[in-house]
Each structure stands twice: as structure tokens, then as C-alpha cells.
């Protein structure tokens, strides 16, 4: 994952609440074994509608998605994050997020910024008023700014997610540094494993 410090880009107002991960990327796209190319499937049920905000020329090339409450609830599919990033989004600003979606985003470097409903509505108005306006998200200082409007808000981010974004860390590498502790735990654990439960063909052995 690449480190993320400051993101600067234009915003696009989705203005919908409860956008679940089935809306973000429909299940038909989940058959693929690759990690790339999901951008074409982003919001695909809505993309046929010429009025859909992502189809409006003035918002083309926006990199910050402004969404309603509970963005990314539902299915655990990380494909939702891959689709948003592949399409070109670097950050989502919303009043709240689905738990698993927020977690998945943090692993890929997609920044999730939580602001109040009122703040997101303000931002919606600012970008509708002038779609060329730049928004600045500073992960280091935990702030969102619209410099030309003098608009500025602080936001809260899980300290670990912030560290990870700034450092561009590989979680697995971090955990593997504790391999001794993992091995110690395994030596003590009495929880059964699958040894002896199934034969090589996956049939249950009679024990």
C-alpha cells in the first residue's frame, strides 16, 4: 500500500444514504479472480441513468465521493473498495460507514472521512455550486478543507488506521513480527484443529 498524506481533488455529491456494498459493486462482478478492473462495475445499476451524478460532465474526474449516512453497509466484499479506487476515488466523506467496509478501505489506502450530516450537506452544496472547487483532505492533521470557500473541519480517524495510511504499512508484515507470540499462543491453545477430521478427499473420518 502506498503512503497517503494529503489528498487534493474535486468532490462529487452522491446524496444517497444506506448505499450498501451490493450497490457499490453488484454480485455479478464478484466472479472475477483479479484485483483490478472493477471500476467499470462501480454503481453499475445506476450508471445507465444519464442523470446519475457520476455521468454528469461537471463531476468527471472527481476523486472524492460525498455520500450519505451508512455508506458501505452489508456484504464484506472488498471488491467495493477496489471498484471505488479503480474508478478513481481516493477518499469517501460520509456521516457514517459500514464497519467491514471501513476496515477494508483502510487496508487499501482508501481514506474514509467521517463528518456530521450537516457538514456533508455543506460540502454537497459547495461542490454543486462550483464543481471545479478543490477539496483538501489532510490525513496527517486530520482535516478537510475547501480553501476557496474558507471551509474547514477536523475529523476523527482511528489512530491505527491513520498510522497505517501515513506509513503505507503492510499489516501482515507487522503481525509477522510477533511470530514468537503467535507460536507461544498456539502451544498453549487447547482448541481443536481439523487434524484427523477429514481424509485427503475431504470425507469425514469415523473416529
Amino acid at each position: 500500500m502506498k503512503p497517503v498524506h494529503v489528498l487534493e481533488g474535486r468532490g462529487v455529491p452522491l446524496e444517497r444514504s444506506d448505499v450498501d456494498t451490493d450497490q457499490i459493486i453488484p454480485s455479478d462482478w464478484l466472479k472475477r479472480v483479479e484485483r483490478t478492473g472493477f471500476g467499470r462495475g462501480l454503481f453499475s445499476e445506476w450508471r445507465d441513468d444519464t442523470n446519475f451524478v457520476l455521468n454528469q460532465a461537471q463531476f468527471a474526474g472527481a476523486t472524492i465521493l460525498l455520500a450519505g449516512p451508512r455508506f458501505g453497509t452489508g456484504s464484506s466484499r472488498e471488491h467495493a473498495v477496489w471498484a471505488l479506487m479503480d474508478y478513481g476515488f481516493d477518499a469517501i466523506i460520509a456521516p457514517s460507514f459500514g464497519d467491514i467496509f471501513r476496515n477494508n478501505s483502510s487496508k487499501q489506502g482508501l481514506v474514509t472521512v467521517q463528518l456530521s450530516v450537516k457538514d456533508v450537506e455543506d460540502l454537497n452544496e459547495l461542490v454543486k455550486d462550483d464543481p471545479a472547487r478543490l477539496l483538501v483532505i489532510d490525513v496527517e492533521r486530520l482535516s478537510v478543507e475547501v480553501p476557496d470557500a474558507g471551509w474547514h473541519r477536523a475529523f476523527v480517524l482511528d489512530p491505527m488506521i491513520r498510522e497505517r495510511l501515513l506509513g503505507g504499512w503492510d499489516d501482515i508484515g507487522i503481525s509477522l513480527r510477533r511470530e514468537d507470540a503467535i507460536t507461544r499462543y498456539e502451544t498453549m491453545s487447547v482448541t481443536p484443529n481439523l487434524v484427523g477430521v477429514f481424509d485427503d478427499a475431504g470425507h469425514a473420518r469415523s473416529r
Binding site: D20, S27, E78, N104, A181, P192, L194
Partner: protein, 468 residues
């Protein structure tokens, strides 16, 4: 000092390391894998020259995308076929037991874990699927993860985790006879809303939960995520122990009794403190149907479609309006007057043997309403075999239902079992999101007996109307 909740006991017993200022590293006892959220994780391992740390704590099955056509039918979709093959190849390469299409143990991952007895009390269990919460019914801490985390668990058998808050949802008293586990959880999701459980692990308690079968408890825990909670729990009791006895994955003989003694400790202490406590009166529960496009939009089967005027919050008003438009419903319409095109009985919520028995008891001797397509998709091959031994397949077939091969099927519309645009479906699954069961499809979540009655009547109906 106050006692511990079940969640705290599960958490405390799985801490590998708790470094200051960092998330706790939690040990994962069982990692369940399926074809959809794993291929990119296995690729990640290969790219970084990493192995699967504990193949003996990892188990894979094909479920999401597998066709439910007869096994003799080749898989027609090349992309699906490729993904199913990738699962087999990855499991072979990394030494993981896998149940491919047609295998005697194959089925929906959340159905096979408990039925094989590999899901056990006191375990931590993860899977790249949000309905992993199902396994919490057996007193295990089980939650869904994304593909990056799948890779993490494959490589390390651990996950960095922040501790959740605890919520007790207590259903006091006994529900009326026509109320099923599905109705209980629809009531809970309706009460909490889609975000009410966010940040919490929910423990389901009270007489109505205690008196449920294991299958019913799994149905309740399954939909925890629909209220935003990553995990749901039910404390271990004799129902749990009796369910597990003799299953392939559990210790046998005297060793079982030793394990059972340990499992019985996985309950919340009497003086444990929950961060939030909610109580529902079971006597007030009724059969429920969802009317909208999220699982919290529930209404009584006896009720009517709500109106945007019923809510005051302007954001909520537009959500209701949008849902009504998508669902093509007018406020005030009685649910019982709404015709359906398709009935789906299946999914990790309601495809276990008890669900099929309940549905079969409603349809026995009746015919599916003219023009309605009705499918039964057993949750696993073992469920299918059991149902066939009991003659349930014939009951469904005689009534005009399709009797299909096991898999996730129309719950999420990844295979060819999908709705066509505009079709309305009564479904025993867990999500009524826009397009979930097929583009433009309209999903109403119901219990197995309401689904069965609806298939016969051609509109939302209760079992009592079928026999009338």
C-alpha cells in the same frame, strides 16, 4: 469486580499480543474460505512468497457462485467456472481441505461449519463473508472480514482487532406460535435500524432465545450484520451441547464430555456489564415482512406498506420514498394483497433442515399458485440428503417447487438463479437491497413458513390461510 460477558471471555482467551497503542492481535481458531473473497488473497500470498500458516485451521467450500443445476450439467459461465477452479487449485497448492461442487460435505459455508461440528463454542471464527456472524449461535466469536484480512489470516492465523462494545438484546417471554426465529431477528433489525449495532457485538438473550433450536439461533445470529453488528452471540447451554454431540468435527466419547465441560463456561456471568441493553417482549412479536430496500424496513404481515408521511426526519423521508419507488409499492397497501412472482427458500439464514421441514409442512398437499416460480435450495448436500431421506423433496416437487442443488443461489444472484427486472420475490434470505437478487428485482424478506404460504397463495400469506 463485575463478571465478564461472553464476548469478553472469548476476546480475553484469544489475545496473542496487546501492545500499547496498537490494536490487539487476536488468534483465529478457524478460518472458513469460499471462492469469491479468496482468490486475490491467495495471489497476495504467492506474490510475497508466504505460506498458509495453519492449513489445519482452514476449511474451504464452494458456495456463492456454484450453480444449483443438476450436477450433470456443466458450468456454462466461464468466469464462474474459472473462479471455482481457482479455489480448488489454491487449496491444493496450500494444503487446505476443500469441498467442491458435488462433494458430500459441500454447502453454504455458514451451514456446513456447524453441521460438521467444526464450529465449536469458545472459538474465534472468521470468513470472507459478512454472515459469518451465524456461527455465534454456538457461543463462538465469529465475524466477517474482507479479502485483505483473509490474506492476513491465511498468513498469520491472527487479526489485529479493536475491541467492540457489548450489547445485550433480550427477548423476554414466549413468542406466539406463528412467530419464527426469522421474525424475531427481523423485529430486532427493525428496532435497531441498519446502523444501530455498529461497533457492537450483540448477545441474544432471554427466554425466547433460550427456547430456540440451534437452527433458530443461527437464523438470529446470521442477521446481526443487518443491524450493523459484526458478530452475534448466544451463550452455550444444553441445546448447544446436544446439537454438537456426534458431529464429525467434535471430540468423540469421553473426550466430548471434557470438551463440553469447557464449552459450558462460554456464558456471560450473572453480574456482567453490557454497554447497551435492549429488551423486546416476545408476546408482541408477529410474522414480519420487509417492504423496502434495507432489512430494517419491516412491517407486520398483517400490516400495510408505510408512507413517507409516517416519518419526520427529512433524510429518512426521502429514503422511504426512494424505497417505495424502487419496490413499486403504494403507501397503505395491505401486505396480504401484494402478489409475488418468485418464492425463494434457501440461504445461510434459512436453508437448514428445520427450515425445510417447516416449509414442507405448509405446502404438503397444496399447489404453487399459477404463474409463481418457487425454488427450494438446501443449504448443504447433507441437508439435501437428509431432506430427501425424509421425503421432503417429494413434498416440494409435488407442490410445484423446484428442488435444487445446494449453494447461496438467489440470495445474492451470483449464479443463474436471479430475478428479472421488476420481478417481486418472497425470500427467506437476509438482504433486500436494490438489485441484490438480480438487476431490478424486488425482494421481500420473510420466514420459511410465510414464504411457503406465499408460494401457494400467490401473494403474501400466513400458513393458516393455506390450510383454510
Amino acid at each position: 469486580m463485575a463478571g465478564k460477558t461472553l464476548y469478553e471471555k472469548l476476546w480475553d482467551s484469544h489475545v496473542v499480543a496487546a501492545p500499547e497503542g496498537e490494536p490487539t492481535l487476536l488468534y483465529i481458531d478457524l478460518h472458513l474460505v469460499h471462492e469469491v473473497t479468496s482468490p486475490q488473497a491467495f495471489d497476495g500470498l504467492r506474490l510475497n512468497d508466504r505460506r498458509v500458516r495453519r492449513p489445519d485451521r482452514t476449511l474451504a467450500t464452494a458456495d456463492h457462485n456454484v450453480p444449483t443445476d443438476p450436477l450433470s450439467t456443466p458450468i456454462s459461465d466461464p468466469v464462474s467456472k474459472r473462479q471455482l477452479e481457482a479455489l480448488d487449485e489454491n487449496c491444493k497448492e496450500f494444503g487446505i481441505t476443500v469441498f467442491p461442487r458435488g462433494h458430500e460435505n459441500q454447502g453454504i459455508v455458514h451451514v456446513i461449519g456447524p453441521e460438521l461440528g467444526v464450529t465449536q463454542p469458545g472459538m474465534t471464527i472468521v470468513c470472507g463473508d459478512s454472515h459469518t456472524s451465524t456461527h455465534g449461535a454456538l457461543g463462538s466469536l465469529a465475524f466477517g472480514i474482507g479479502t485483505s484480512e483473509v490474506e492476513h489470516v491465511l498468513a498469520t492465523q491472527t487479526l489485529p482487532q479493536q475491541k467492540s462494545k457489548t450489547m445485550s438484546v433480550s427477548i423476554e417471554g414466549s413468542p406466539p406460535a406463528n412467530v419464527s426465529a426469522k421474525d424475531i431477528v427481523l423485529a430486532i433489525v427493525g428496532r435497531l435500524g441498519t446502523g444501530g449495532g455498529a461497533g457492537y457485538v450483540i448477545e441474544y438473550r432471554g427466554e425466547a432465545i433460550r427456547s430456540l433450536s440451534m437452527e433458530g439461533r443461527m437464523t438470529v445470529c446470521n442477521m446481526s450484520i443487518e443491524a450493523g453488528a459484526r458478530a452475534g452471540l448466544v451463550a452455550v447451554d444444553e441445546t448447544t451441547i446436544d446439537y454438537l454431540r456426534g458431529r464429525p468435527g467434535v471430540p468423540q466419547g469421553d473426550e466430548f464430555d471434557v470438551a463440553a465441560e469447557r464449552w459450558r463456561t462460554y456464558v456471560s456471568d450473572d453480574d456482567a456489564h453490557f454497554d447497551q441493553e435492549i429488551t423486546l417482549d416476545a408476546a408482541e412479536l408477529v410474522p414480519f415482512v420487509t417492504w423496502g430496500t434495507n432489512p430494517a424496513q419491516v412491517v407486520a404481515l398483517d400490516g400495510v406498506v408505510p408512507s413517507p408521511d409516517d416519518v419526520h426526519d427529512s433524510d429518512e423521508k426521502s429514503t422511504v420514498q426512494r424505497a417505495l419507488e424502487y419496490m413499486d409499492l403504494a403507501p397503505g397497501t395491505p401486505l396480504r394483497s401484494i402478489p409475488v412472482d418468485v418464492v425463494f427458500i434457501g440461504s445461510c439464514t434459512n436453508s437448514r433442515i428445520e427450515d425445510l421441514r417447516a416449509a414442507a409442512s405448509v405446502v404438503r398437499g397444496s399447489q404453487v399458485h399459477h404463474g409463481v416460480r418457487a425454488l427450494v435450495v438446501p443449504g448443504s448436500r447433507r441437508v439435501k440428503t437428509q431432506a430427501e431421506a425424509e421425503g421432503l423433496d417429494q413434498v416440494f416437487l409435488d407442490a410445484g417447487f423446484e428442488w435444487r442443488e445446494p449453494g447461496c443461489s438467489m440470495c445474492l444472484g451470483m449464479n443463474s438463479d436471479i430475478l428479472t427486472p421488476g420481478q417481486r420475490c418472497a425470500s427467506t434470505s437476509n438482504r433486500n437491497f436494490e438489485g441484490r437478487q438480480g438487476r431490478g428485482g424486488r425482494t421481500h424478506l420473510v420466514s420459511p413458513v410465510v414464504a411457503a404460504a406465499t408460494a401457494i397463495m400467490g401473494r403474501f400469506a400466513s400458513p393458516s390461510e393455506v390450510s383454510a
